[in-house]
Symmetry: C2
Subunit: 255 residues, 2 copies
Amino acid sequence: MDLHLAYPDIFSRADAATLTMLMGPRQELRPRQRIARANVPMCQSIYLEQGFAARYRLDRTGRRQFLSLHVPGDFIDLPSLVLGSIDHDIDSVGTVVLRGIAHGDLGRLMAEHPPLMRNLWRISLMDAAVHRYWIFRIGRLPGRARVANFFCEMLIRQYARGLCSTQRFELPLTQTDLGEACGITPVHANRMLGELRADGICDFADGEVEVHDLPALIRTGHFSWDYLYLPSEIDGALRQQLSAGALRAAAQGMR
Amino acid sequence: MDLHLAYPDIFSRADAATLTMLMGPRQELRPRQRIARANVPMCQSIYLEQGFAARYRLDRTGRRQFLSLHVPGDFIDLPSLVLGSIDHDIDSVGTVVLRGIAHGDLGRLMAEHPPLMRNLWRISLMDAAVHRYWIFRIGRLPGRARVANFFCEMLIRQYARGLCSTQRFELPLTQTDLGEACGITPVHANRMLGELRADGICDFADGEVEVHDLPALIRTGHFSWDYLYLPSEIDGALRQQLSAGALRAAAQGMR
DNA sequence: CGCGGAGTTGAACGCATTCAAGTCTTGTGG
DNA sequence: CCACAAGACTTGAATGCGTTCAACTCCGCG
């Protein structure tokens, strides 16, 4: 995943090329490896070229709560660039490919080229909007809607990068991981998945979600994607797909 | 609350003075008034000179989920400076005093004085760290611990600004608001407060929290403040207070 | 072959919600 | 000045969603 493709409205091709020049070598990590550690001073930020990565905090009993889940193409660990370190751990979820960018290089580049700083800031703010939506999801939605809502986010974030269609997307989590993302137990996650499957809404297996009825998934999850700040073309494409799907469904219903 | 006092490690006295020059007139709002609206283009950011303000999202049934609660001295609505608008509403909680800073003025100032941008970015990142901790609180802690944990955050954020001692602090919320912050019902919030009171830990009434046993409050809330990125003097002062309190408690226990 | 992790399912329990009633305070209008 | 309405707080009782405990299957791997 190339930086310009990942953030088309943030990095021009030229900016993306400059940043890519500064990146260190590709580094592959296996599942459940530590990417960044809490309270350890960092000297580089990380670009998640392939794969998924989870930020999480442990509770007293040692169980994880995911704080966010990064999808391929995310520029992660920007907080450490400005704050020096982070307050939580980040692990790979599934196999990942990372590339580091030294804080020093980024600092020099931002000094020469100030708009870059604003662009990176913008990415941080979009991440923060996602954090806030997670608070809403976990605080207000019942388990079934939580899972559906989470799937919607993962679908649309990947769709926006051209990584999937609206029928199927990658999500290399175990059911336990899914529970840790949604704040429910693995057993309950399993049951909610069973319901979504039985209702013909979607099917989660083998690290993939197959979406059978996207409008129903969105409805069940009480989802709206206003918080994702999608480029307007993508937003338009999505709306079109959905209304086309609705028309098709209505036509089928009329037969 | 002066900007330098609110962010001593971010804004020097000189920077704070410059920014304060740009601020519009003080504006007082009564409780539960709209400060910023979702999806409406903003042309100014807001400094919360006095009082409390809540970001929230409504669920389908019209109930609010707080996404964050700003305390006096917070620079709020920085997201709108970079993103243009926000995806949720912000209301006053209790009476507030606001001062606006035009995005245009901020933009010019950042252009002349690049370090300022990094400092504002830093504030955004500290806010994001708080968001993440809210996910943890709501996702992993049972009701009683959630309330205690939330109180700890409110205490320490205000303590760090010199707004309170560790014995008592302002929190002009109703029990319903508290429930909306912690993701529980008003009735349950009431019961958890009753337990904390009965256990001699703290007492929440009339918009104030009286802390009777801070170590117990922290323990009950499974709280740690690593995510608040406090200036080291403040962090040190807090640790000292706590260990002094523990020693005093131990001495009393030995009598 | 046997181990361990992931997924599945049943049953009992319990935390939190919901519904409901009642108190108290505050502010407003008769 | 009092009556009354509205909102905040409190408490009880019933319900139910989600957790916990437990058993069992399936699959990949040593």
